[in-house]
């Protein structure tokens, strides 16, 4: 927690990958298991507090 208040402005990172074998692996990054995602988020100092998914992507609300 910042000394005088909670920093609002966010940091945003986007990583895009080549999709040369989506025929073989249409789910792509969505196959990353939750434990692995959670480990990465722990390094960032975040945890998942809510999640939703549809046929296109997975969306997670995080908390610091």
């Amino acid at each position: 927690m910042a000394v005088s208040g909670f920093e609002g402005f966010e940091k945003r990172l986007e990583l895009r990958f080549f999709n040369d074998d989506t025929n073989k692996n249409p789910m792509g990054l969505r196959l990353i298991d939750f434990e692995s995602l959670d480990q990465v988020l722990t390094q960032v100092q975040c945890t998942v507090v809510s999640a939703v998914a549809n046929h296109s992507f997975d969306a997670y609300v995080l908390s610091e």
Binding site: L13, N25, S56, F57
Partner: protein, 281 residues
């Protein structure tokens, strides 16, 4: 904060003093286990309200860029870092670093990132948990905040996944086909902040779409200070979108566009950064 995972794209957006850049290497490694290789990376942020509270390397953009560059494979040859600084308000700059393996950008979505401060105090009250509803869990309280604030009207086709923090604060992700949207709110007076982000396409009157969605999102918070970063990751720059954004903010909130900056990023498209403050009365 939010994380979105598409088959070939990961977007992670965090606030506070998180160590976001530490996620780059592990994500690239996890992707490699699925035979997916990195094509492009984009890191962006506004200007921190409390920069001294940020841990290294987020204390300076130069340090951030050095850490990001060090985390990326050499194949991402086309790189650029830019700090888009409004001449009238240097403390509200937009920081962008991009790296790409290809010189041609290919992201079909246009991403609109809105940062709002000095939120309307009455509207911001929607994002405080009410005394006596401590027994309601964060999901239910989040749903109540979504309804109370009118966020559910921004895109009525979207499924909203929301969460209320304690004693105040709010986050939501919207899911609508392959379109994502996200809102994060810090309602406390003195450093109130709200962000709204969505990915939109310019086809099928997407321009109108952007203006309409932006109008509804701004209406929820009625901020006194707004910045809008529009990223064309593959589409050509569209001046009509820029004009509509300025028209919406002028009409809805009486905000005047104080600065309009544009920059090109090799293999990663074009970014337009507009900043708005109230028209002098």
């Amino acid at each position: 904060s939010s994380l979105f995972v598409y088959p070939t794209k990961i977007i992670i957006k965090t606030c506070g003093t998180t160590q976001l850049l530490k996620s780059i290497r592990p994500f690239i490694h996890l992707a490699r286990t699925l035979n997916l290789t990195l094509r492009a990376c984009r890191y962006s942020r506004g200007s921190f309200i409390f920069p001294k509270a940020q841990p290294f390397p987020h204390t300076s953009f130069e340090d951030e860029v050095a850490i990001v560059e060090d985390s990326l494979p050499k194949s991402l040859r086309h790189r650029k870092a830019s700090v888009m600084t409004p001449s009238n308000n240097p403390s509200r700059a937009w920081h962008v670093f991009t790296a790409s393996a290809d010189v041609e950008p290919d992201e079909p979505l246009v991403v609109v990132e809105v940062c709002m401060t000095e939120l309307d105090r009455v509207n911001a009250l929607s994002f405080f948990r009410r005394r006596g509803d401590e027994k309601i869990n964060s999901d239910s309280a989040g749903r109540e905040m979504t309804r109370l604030s009118g966020i559910d009207a921004i895109n009525q086709n979207a499924f909203v996944c929301d969460f209320a923090f304690d004693p105040c604060g709010y986050s939501m992700n919207g899911v609508d086909g392959d379109r994502y949207s996200t809102i994060h709110v810090t309602p406390e007076d003195g450093f109130s902040y709200a962000s709204f982000e969505c990915g939109l396409s310019l086809y099928d009157d997407g321009r109108g779409d952007i203006a309409e969605v932006l109008s509804r999102a701004i209406d929820v918070f009625r901020p006194d200070c707004v910045s809008v970063a529009t990223t064309y990751g593959g589409e050509d720059y569209d001046h009509e979108v820029t004009k509509r954004v300025e028209r919406v903010l002028a009409k809805k909130l009486g905000l005047k566009c104080r600065s309009r900056l544009m920059d090109e990023f090799p293999g990663s498209g074009t970014v337009v950064f507009q900043s708005f403050t109230p028209r002098r009365r």
